[in-house]
Amino acid sequence: MKELLKKLSETYGPSGREAQIARVIREEIKDYVDETYTDNMGNLYAVKKGNGAKIMVAAHMDEIGMIVTHLDDKGFLRFSNVGGLSPHVLLGQRVIFANGSQGTIGMEKLEELNKLTLEKLFIDIGATTKEEASKYVKVGDIATYHREVAVVGNRMIGKAMDNRAGCAVLVKAIQELAITDNEVYAVFTSQEEVGLRGSRVSTYRINPDLGLAVDVTMVGDTPEAPTMSVSLGKGPTVKIKDASVICHPRLKEMLSEIAEKNEIPYQYEVLTAGGTDAGAIHLTKEGIPAGVISIPCRYVHTPGEMVDLEDLEHALKLLKAFLSAPLEMREIFPCHLE
């Protein structure tokens, strides 16, 4: 898990430019599934065929980034955010583009730090003229944080743990999944960070009986953190609600029951802001029961996102148990009132 997560975390893949991360993931899973394919939105699908319930598991593989909007005469790059970026977190960061070009983030003269906005920042790639800069970077290119993973105790720090941690769990689950009747569609979704776009179209294509998202969630266990019940290291969460979805009550119960039966520690999660792929999944067509397994993550959307490896292992166990349990849709989600 450790090596896999390191590899996934360090791979480039901002929203809309997921081809590199998709290739890395495809290499990991292609020998364990019946087919893999991609679509117009950049989603990567991996299918394990079966005759039972059609289950979709989504883990978004995109990460936040910075899109170049202008090259000035002296070779500095102006940029805008792809997904949720704080200008304060960006100060002094190193960034990397798809072609490997690197840069650092500088700031205009500023009287008050709390007035910092993205417009006052720029990327410096070491070029001295526009012509030189344009050899490496074009308007529209997207950079991500450039950061190596660090292992600290049983925890890992790095960029894009949101949501390569979820991707790592899903990759492992595919590799280790016991034989099951269920037809499993693992989807490594694109463009989650900019509005759950990949999962919206992939769910429409698959039209599953139910959908599960594997993503990270915020925690409330750091000094003076916002009020939240989730802690790092106490197991994956079973999501109840966030701004994008109220998880199907039966799915929440099922996940809790499976966790208890298998003695997997878990926490309930109510996230007051933010959304996940389940938000798009459950609204597809006539409505698809959806749930979420989240991996607690500190310092989300910074280059120092921290996850706990135990949480990942437990999330993996829970996901595998869920996917291999027989699912009688008509009994579990009755369509008629008794």
Binding site: G220, P226, T227, M228, S229, I240, K241, I246, C247, H248, P249, K252, Q267, Y268, E269, V270, T272, H282, L283, K285, E286, G287, I288, P289, F333, P334, C335, H336, L337
Partner: protein
């Protein structure tokens, strides 16, 4: 069933967005004798079909949508001492919930309050500020140990409120938004018993409107109606609200016009209202409305949509107030409109 009795039953029933199964049962029990078929989809929308009288192969399909979910509170954290932190499901003004009694739906139904600091202990400068949701807590007066046994993160709570009869035909309750709309659907189905209507009527008690018109989108996708009418509540006139932003109580339903609404539908409802001398009020809304109509209109290849609203004061508080006359007038107008719909009318809707 008498409409006011039904309204009391559903308003007092719990049914926070995403957890509507209890109120769904109450609705079903009252509706089933007036319809031909009932089904519930996986997301919880309850669809009642009342078949049309036409023997033609193709009958117009009319969708009626009123949402049965209500706003509520959800436990986010159990604090030391057993106090419960919570967040809102749907839009709640935290200033309206201080000092309220609540029912907490834990392992069992637990009475509690949203406590408030006595004024003696509040610093003067704080008195001028409104309470914030994250600073409030629910107190169920149990030890932390007992609380942890009975309550978990994600449990729901509601303001405790029974329906109150006020002067004349005015009543107040929680969840009138939009159980009043559900009551209009029942009233409409009752009216339809004595009318001839060509169209198949799909009356849907929708879910999850308060968190983003979610249920109606799914239900409409499944039903694929020729036209859809949402029934919801609208702001009643009161001091501090501009006259053109509100409807008068007791003067009949609001009929919405604007981009969200198909002109031929609003025109036909108005024509029917005039023909039967039913009072109505016009509401102009310059974009997608915050009702199920927003979702219905853009489902699949586009559904011609209308919106009927019951004037109501104090929306999203526990004392939402309305006039029963408006409710009955809405049911009647809706029924007469349905009776006027034929195949020619719905076929004319695909062109503007």
């Amino acid at each position: 069933m008498e409409i006011k009795r039904f309204l009391k039953d559903i308003c007092e029933a719990p049914g926070v967005s995403g957890y509507e199964e209890y109120v769904a049962k109450v609705v079903r029990a009252a509706f089933c004798s007036h319809v031909d078929e009932v089904r519930q989809d996986r997301m919880g929308n309850v669809v009642f079909l009342k078949k049309g009288s036409s023997s033609a192969e193709r009958r117009p399909r009319i969708l009626l949508a009123a949402h049965m979910d209500e706003i509520g509170l959800m436990v986010t954290k159990i604090e030391e001492g057993g106090f419960l932190r919570f967040s809102a499901v749907g839009g709640i003004d935290p200033r309206t919930i201080v000092g309220q009694e609540v029912i907490l739906y834990g392992r069992e139904k637990l009475p509690g309050v949203i406590g408030v600091k006595p004024p003696h202990l509040v610093p003067a400068e704080e008195l001028g500020k409104g309470h914030k949701m994250e600073d409030l807590h629910i107190d169920i007066a149990l030890t932390e140990e007992r609380v942890r046994k009975l309550v978990s993160v994600g449990d729901l709570a509601l303001i405790r409120r029974e329906l109150i009869q006020l002067a004349g035909n005015t009543v107040a309750a929680k969840a009138m938004d939009d159980r009043a709309g559900v009551a209009v659907l029942l009233s409409c189905l009752q009216e339809l018993e004595r009318l001839r209507h060509e169209a198949d009527v799909y009356a849907v008690a929708t879910v999850q409107e308060e968190v983003g018109v979610r249920g109606a989108a799914m239900a409409t996708y499944g039903i694929v109606p020729d036209l859809g009418i949402a029934v919801d509540v609208t702001h009643g006139e009161m001091p501090g609200v501009l006259e053109h932003e509100a409807c008068k109580l007791g003067k009949g339903p609001g009929i919405t016009v604007g981009p969200n609404i198909h002109t031929k539908i609003s025109e036909e409802i108005i024509r029917v209202a005039k023909e039967y001398r039913l009072p109505y009020q016009l509401e102009a809304f310059p974009g997608p409305t915050g009702t199920d109509a927003r979702a219905i209109q853009v489902t699949r290849g586009g559904i011609p949509t209308g919106l009927l609203s019951i004037p109501l004061r104090y929306m999203h508080t526990s004392v939402e107030l309305l006039d029963m006359d408006d409710l009955k007038l809405s049911g009647r107008l809706l029924a007469y409109f349905i009776a006027s719909v034929d195949l020619e009318f719905v076929e004319g809707l695909s062109c503007c």
